[in-house]
């Protein structure tokens, strides 16, 4: 590659001053951001007790653990694990459905085109927001205090955490619905309830069904971990086996979770395509 003659570069500089003479502030912005990000990162490493010796010791320990995990082997507790897996799937399905059914009427209250008055809508929205701000695991701990240890607490935890998410998503779907069909019902003499039933719901239900399926999928993952705090399912078994250092069983349980999640993914994406068609999958 031959360099350009120097008079050409000079001409270029003259022609595009904004490329060659960027002000210092814009040239310095990127390096400054990077330096600041790195500084916080290093401060974090120091503050959180990272040290090379701990890291090396931990990694070698981790390597040893991975060796112990092979081959995955359930021992004699395969039936118990299968039951736990079924429990996890049940928790995900039931929790999501309860949340969806409870969230539908509330989401109507939070939608702008159903409830026009902001004074009434605002508290509903903030209420949903604060439910969403609390993690599923925390809800599980609260429900354990109320209904005791076991999968039922898990169902209720998933139901209430998703209730917040669904309320928001559904109300957005309702707000995106077309006004014309609702006006058509009104023009034909329908009441407010008729408008919702025949004008809004047929537009909104497929979208909602897609979202519910998607949540069943993601809740299968959540349901695997709420067992860690004692709310039933396969997470309970997993946490126990990790605590007693039965690594072969641990790796088997992780494999089971991976397979189950992949299977649910596959089924629900199939159903989603069947319900709303390929184009609308968000």
């Amino acid at each position: 590659m031959t360099p350009l003659p120097s008079e050409d570069t000079a001409k270029l500089r003259e022609r595009y001053p904004e490329v060659f003479n960027r002000p210092a502030s814009s040239r310095l912005a990127t390096p400054l951001v990077i330096v600041a990000a790195l500084a916080i990162f290093i401060f974090g490493l120091v503050d959180l007790d990272f040290s090379p010796s701990r890291l090396i010791a931990g990694v070698s320990q981790l390597g040893w653990i991975s060796m112990m995990m092979l081959p995955p082997d359930p021992g004699s507790s395969l039936p118990a694990y299968l039951i736990a897996l079924g429990e996890t799937l049940s928790i995900a399905l039931l929790g999501t459905m309860i949340a969806a059914i409870a969230a539908l009427p509330v989401s109507l209250l939070a939608a702008r085109n159903v409830v026009p008055s902001a004074i009434f809508r605002f508290p509903v929205r903030r209420f949903l927001d604060s439910i969403r701000g609390v993690d599923t695991l925390i809800w599980a701990l609260v429900w354990i205090n109320v209904v005791g240890l076991g999968p039922f607490a898990g169902v209720l935890a998933i139901a209430i955490a998703d209730f917040g998410a669904f309320g928001k998503l559904f109300s957005e779907a309702i707000e995106a619905a077309d006004r014309k069909e609702v006006e058509g019902i009104r023009a034909a003499g329908g009441s407010k309830l008729h408008e919702i039933r025949f004008g809004l719901l047929p537009q909104v239900l497929p979208v909602i069904a897609g979202q519910v399926l998607y949540f069943i999928e993601s809740n299968t993952r959540s349901a695997t971990i709420i067992g860690i705090v004692g709310a039933g399912g396969i997470g309970l078994q997993l946490a126990e086996q990790i605590r007693v250092l039965e690594w072969q069983k641990v790796s088997f349980l992780i494999l089971m979770i991976l397979v189950a999640v992949a299977a649910i993914d596959w089924i629900s994406s199939r159903l989603r395509f069947a319900i709303i068609g390929r184009r609308a999958v968000a």
Binding site: F41, F50, A57, L62, L94, D135, W143, G148, F152, I242
Partner: protein
């Protein structure tokens, strides 16, 4: 102006009506069948997860009164009448909250850097070899599917109790999630600049640096910020398994029935999550305008 509605001859009408009724009946039957199947699945699920409505009805009062209790101080007054008593541990909690945010920051950054290193290998259009792409993709999938808290449980044993395990767990989980999103961005880039750079005789690394990278950085930063937001929530529960942050304090308060502490810690967590949401939302809007918001 009048117009006549033409009525079809009797026979034709009858056959059309019949076809219509058939179609409706078939559709209804299908819906009914699907509903029955779904109901059956729900019933099975209810048995499987030991749903007991009687327990719920008996103890639902407990759930409501739980919120009553966490909003009451030990001297039976409402919490908001005495802030200094309610937030008695605010110094400790703020410090732990700072630790939580730091955990998610360090974890997200480490995960983003790792994902950045791997995503060009996982994307269909830039991967140097199919076998490499396959291996990297499976690895990312594994890191994404295993929940972060399961990694934390294992890391607590390998690295000892403390925030280090939490950081590493979040970093690994973020690598999986971000690696996939990043590689999807790379798959959508315009390939013409890549061809241009390659035609000058540049190697793979130069192609990535000068042709792909300028197109994707905005998207990367946007996704990384979004991930940071999610990781703050995640880090707030890492303490449940002993991996640092405010979760440890919360789980102790819930398990030992320190009611007013529960509400105080929950409120600080919710407020922090709100603030981080708003902050990253603002930052993303400012950095990339409206278009890059995923």
């Amino acid at each position: 102006m009048t117009s006549a509605v033409s009525i079809l001859p009797e026979q034709q009408l009858a056959s059309l009506n019949e076809a219509y009724r058939m179609a409706v009946r078939r559709k209804r039957l299908r819906t009914l069948f699907a509903t029955a199947l779904f109901g059956l699945a729900l019933a099975l699920a209810a048995i499987g997860s030991e749903v007991n409505l009687r327990t719920l009805f008996t103890y639902f009062g407990n759930f409501v009164s739980y919120f009553d209790r966490i909003l009451t101080l030990e001297d039976h007054t409402r919490v908001w009448t005495n802030f200094s008593e309610w937030f008695w541990g605010w110094q400790k909690w703020l410090k732990l909250l700072g630790e939580t945010i730091l955990i998610s920051y360090v974890g997200t950054l480490a995960g983003a850097v790792l994902a950045f290193g791997l995503n060009f290998l996982a994307a269909e259009n830039t991967s140097p070899a199919p076998w490499l792409r396959f291996v990297v993709r499976r690895a990312l999938e594994f890191a994404r599917t295993v929940p972060g808290i399961v990694f934390a449980l294992i890391f607590v044993i390998a690295f000892g109790l403390g925030p280090m395990a939490g950081v590493l767990a979040i970093a690994i989980h973020s690598t999986g999630a971000l690696g996939k999103l990043f590689s999807e961005i790379v798959e959508n880039v315009d390939m013409k600049p890549v061809e241009g750079v390659r035609s000058t005789g540049a190697g793979w690394l130069s192609c990535m640096r000068f042709a792909v990278l300028p197109q994707v950085t905005a998207g990367y930063a946007s996704y990384a910020l979004l991930r940071f937001e999610i990781n703050v929530r995640e880090a707030s529960v890492m303490g449940f398994v002993g991996a640092g942050g405010i979760g440890q304090e919360l789980v102790v308060a819930i398990r030992k029935f320190y009611y007013s502490d529960v509400s105080a810690i929950l409120i600080t967590i919710i407020l922090t999550v709100f603030l981080i949401d708003i902050g990253t939302g603002w930052l993303r809007a400012r950095l990339f305008g409206g278009e890059a918001r995923a």
